[in-house]
């Protein structure tokens, strides 16, 4: 039995991801850690319209019947929990960030908020970019050093202590990418306003 308080967090963040254009109708997933277990979105459920029965509880290291229902990205979520101190994960498909991930190995924001909070977002690449152990390991490894990363052409994975926190990093990333896109469209010389900004690429 999953606590109503936990369901409400999934419902609200899922709805916000959809309305913010971060996912298509059935894409993306969320999970939280509960001790040696996790709660994750049911496979095929619509993130923007989650019902209590759309949440599945299963083990982090140990399989049970829950795996039959869980999201296809369960393996990535499990690997992240086993490799990092994360208590919550938000995975979605932020469009502008995906566009930038196609041509860059890292995204270095130029706006104040993202530079301040994220510094740099690494881009990892994997041929089989959904549901594979290779992808899960690459994503989890990158998340050891960063709270949000991009999987090239696929989407973002963000960790936090709460879903709200992981959603915050996701939202900041997409906003930063949109700002970079607008700056490219304006196409005027960039005037640096941040002290020691060269250190961001080394972060």
């Amino acid at each position: 039995m999953i606590d109503t308080r936990i369901y409400e967090q999934f419902r609200d963040i899922g709805r916000d991801l959809y309305t913010a254009n971060m996912i298509s109708s059935h894409a993306g997933n969320l999970s939280v850690r509960l001790g040696d277990k996790l709660v994750i979105k049911r496979r095929g459920a619509m993130l923007g319209q989650l019902k209590p029965h759309d949440l599945v509880e299963t083990g982090i290291e140990k399989n049970d019947s829950g795996v039959a229902l869980a999201s296809s990205e369960l393996l990535a979520h499990r690997t992240i929990y086993m490799s990092t101190p994360a208590l919550a994960i938000v995975h979605c498909h932020p469009r502008t960030a995906i566009a930038f991930s196609l041509s860059r190995d890292e995204i270095v924001p130029i706006d104040n908020e993202a530079a301040y909070l994220l510094k740099k977002i690494p881009v990892v690449a994997e041929e089989f970019a959904s549901g594979t152990p290779e992808m899960a390991n690459k994503v989890a490894n990158a998340l050891k050093d960063y709270k949000i990363i991009m999987l090239r052409g696929h989407g973002s994975f963000a960790t936090g202590q709460t879903l709200e926190e992981a959603f915050l990093w996701t939202s900041i990333l997409e906003e930063a990418c949109q700002i970079m896109l607008y700056a490219k469209l304006i196409d005027e010389p960039f005037i640096e306003y941040r002290k020691m900004s060269e250190s961001y690429t080394k972060f």
Binding site: I2, D3, R5, I6, V32, R33, L34, G35, D36, K37, V39, S83, T84, P85, L87, Y116, K144, D145, Y146, K147, G160, Q161, T162, E164, E165, L168, K195, M196, S199, K202, F203
Partner: protein, 593 residues
């Protein structure tokens, strides 16, 4: 190697001799410093069954690789010993200046063993050690002694005990820099049992930093973050830690009258706002701290540091006292006598309840501010009623037949946060390795302050995950050794990166939290070896069975059992709370067994 001085100083008081030897660097990489290194050394040095007040117990003073580097709050140090109050492993850490100066003497660790046959004080000048006769200092109070031994914040720093430690009060603190305290669990009594009155340090070594550019960048970014967080840039500098008084009262989680209520009608009168408006002289800082939460307060009788939130609560709400000047004076008196304010206040509150209910024959009553000072004096000297109170609330309440009235866990008096209004805090107290303590992963951040993000304080399912993470994070921060307030503005990833920059060893955030988990499990193993079991992971019956009848926490008791089950599983322990072989192997701890 940068990050560590790589030197251990071992002092044997029985022979008044010392030796130095290299720090085991494999151990340092696994445990970093501070609390972690202290726990690992205590495991080897103090085996099961040792009387904490016997010469076989040791005091282990440790700093960390960041200590003295200038990174924000890199002023702290630790003492690790076996607690005379609880019988558990004990680590206490303190700020001020002594830790930075100790680092400058060129030692990472100082182990103090044995017992001197007469009072002694130790002077460490750079690397030279001198033993001095302290017969004429025995009996002196902390403030006068600190001045006599030449305290000078940035050059020469004094750590000492007061009369409470000499008289082996199990709630005695070790004091440093006049009014800073290694307070909880009675380390002052251990120092007193060794006839050691003071340790004075003077040094000139400068810690090395491998990646100076990255260090400078992280210092700059942390400064920005701390300036941006309202907690570290406004609330703490302006009101000190007492800013929490009204906040905790408003959410119905302010333990009142020995935890008989969860709100105090006099909270406003003893709040941070009241302290700032009417008693604050100025604020002050520990070395390399941009926050400046220290209060310098003045009443007609005293002027000095404090009081902190916990001290204000302990003599205030917990004793039903709304007289702020009396509380400021009680805090100063505890500092001068060398006592732990939380345990003293809560023990007095316990005695007040025992007396009001006629279980104990004394005049102590809730709300009597005039009784604080004489009772504190009596505790430090073990005279009159102090003979009963000097060893903490559990021994007191047990003597009078009502151990359930001791508001402690594993014998350590709990601090201000009433866990009936904060489920995670209840689990934290019950599982803390040194007993009822908030500094082992305080849940006030996520459950009340929204740092890093607000979580539902009444949520039970899943709460263990937060507690485990915060316990591991706190153990890592205590091993660095930094002040936990930096974590209100700076995320753990900064700590990992600054540790990497200073030492040249790559630590990810996860690596650092794993150090914390390793430390937590080692402390657990120590307590298990001492005979503690899962039955000790509990709380006073009042918190499990008696729900507040009004206020925001009305109807709630701590739902400990389901949280504890989930907690053991989440920790990778068995159902009896014993770490599994798999978990120990994962943490490089199996070699110890």
């Amino acid at each position: 190697m940068a990050g560590w001085s790589e030197k251990v100083l071992e002092i044997d008081l029985s022979t008044q001799t010392y030796k130095t030897y290299p720090l085991d660097m494999d151990m340092a990489r696994l445990y970093i410093g501070g609390r972690g290194l202290g726990a690992r050394l205590l495991w080897d040095l103090v085996g099961p069954g040792v009387d904490p007040l016997s010469p076989e117990n040791v005091l282990i003073f440790t700093n960390g690789p960041l200590t003295g580097t200038g990174y924000q709050t890199s002023n702290r140090f630790s003492v690790t010993t076996k607690s005379p109050l609880t019988g558990t492993i004990l680590d206490a850490n303190s700020g001020g200046f002594w830790g930075m100066q100790f680092r400058k003497t060129g030692y990472d660790v100082m182990i103090v063993r044995g017992k001197s046959d007469k009072p002694v004080w130790i002077e460490i000048k750079n690397a030279a050690i001198t033993f001095h006769d302290a017969s004429d200092l025995w009996g002196m109070r902390v403030f006068a002694l600190t001045e006599k031994l030449g305290q000078n914040n940035n050059k020469r720093n004094v750590l000492c005990i007061g009369p409470a430690g000499e008289n082996l009060s199990r709630i005695a603190a070790i004091m440093n820099d006049r009014e800073r305290a290694l307070a909880r669990g009675g380390p002052g009594a251990v120092m007193g049992s060794k006839n050691l009155k003071a340790i004075v340090v003077e040094g000139k070594d400068r810690p090395e930093i491998v990646d100076k550019d990255q260090f400078k960048f992280l210092l700059y970014e942390a400064r920005k973050s701390l300036a941006q967080s309202p907690l570290t840039s406004q609330a703490l500098p302006e009101f000190g830690t007492v800013v929490l008084m009204n906040i905790m009262n408003n959410v119905g989680a302010l333990a009142t009258r020995n935890h008989q209520q969860t709100q105090f009608e006099g909270a406003e009168a003893i709040s941070g706002e009241e302290l700032t408006d009417n008693y604050l002289v100025r604020n002050a800082s520990c070395w390399a701290c941009p926050i400046g939460c220290t209060r310098i307060s003045r009443t007609e009788k005293v002027e000095g540091e404090g009081p902190e939130f916990e001290s204000t609560w302990a003599f205030g709400a917990q004793c039903g006292i709304a007289d702020l000047p009396a509380i400021i004076e009680a805090n100063a008196l505890c500092n001068d006598l060398g006592l732990d304010t939380i345990s003293v206040g809560s023990t007095i509150a316990c005695a007040m309840e025992l007396s009001e209910k006629n279980f104990m024959d004394s005049e102590l009553r809730f709300g009597r501010a005039d009784q604080l000072a004489p009772t504190i004096e009596a505790i430090a000297t073990r005279s009159d009623i102090g003979a009963d109170l000097a060893d903490g609330s559990l021994r007191l309440a047990t003597k009078y037949g009502h151990p359930e009235l001791s508001m402690s866990s594993k014998g350590l008096e709990m601090p201000a946060y009433d866990p009936r209004g904060m489920q995670g805090q209840g689990l934290l107290y019950a599982t803390s390795n040194r007993g009822g303590c908030h500094m082992r992963g305080n849940m006030v951040g996520p459950e009340v302050l929204g740092a890093p993000k607000l979580i539902d304080r009444f949520q039970v399912q899943g709460k263990s995950s937060f507690v485990i993470l915060h316990q591991n994070t706190a153990a890592a921060i205590d091993s660095l050794v930094l002040c936990k307030f930096t974590n209100y503005g700076v995320a753990e990833e900064y700590f990992a990166r600054v540790l990497s920059a200073v030492t040249g060893i790559k630590y990810s955030t996860g690596d650092m939290i794993k150090v914390g988990e390793r430390v937590w499990n080692l402390e657990r193993l120590y307590n298990l070896r001492e005979g503690f079991t899962n039955k000790d992971d509990t709380l006073p019956p009042r918190l499990l069975n008696e729900a507040p009848t009004d206020g925001p926490s009305k109807g709630w008791v701590v739902q400990l059992e389901p949280m504890l089950k989930e907690y053991y599983r989440g920790r990778g322990w068995d159902e009896n709370g014993i770490p599994t072989k798999k978990k120990l192997a994962e943490l490089d701890l199996e070699v110890l067994l």
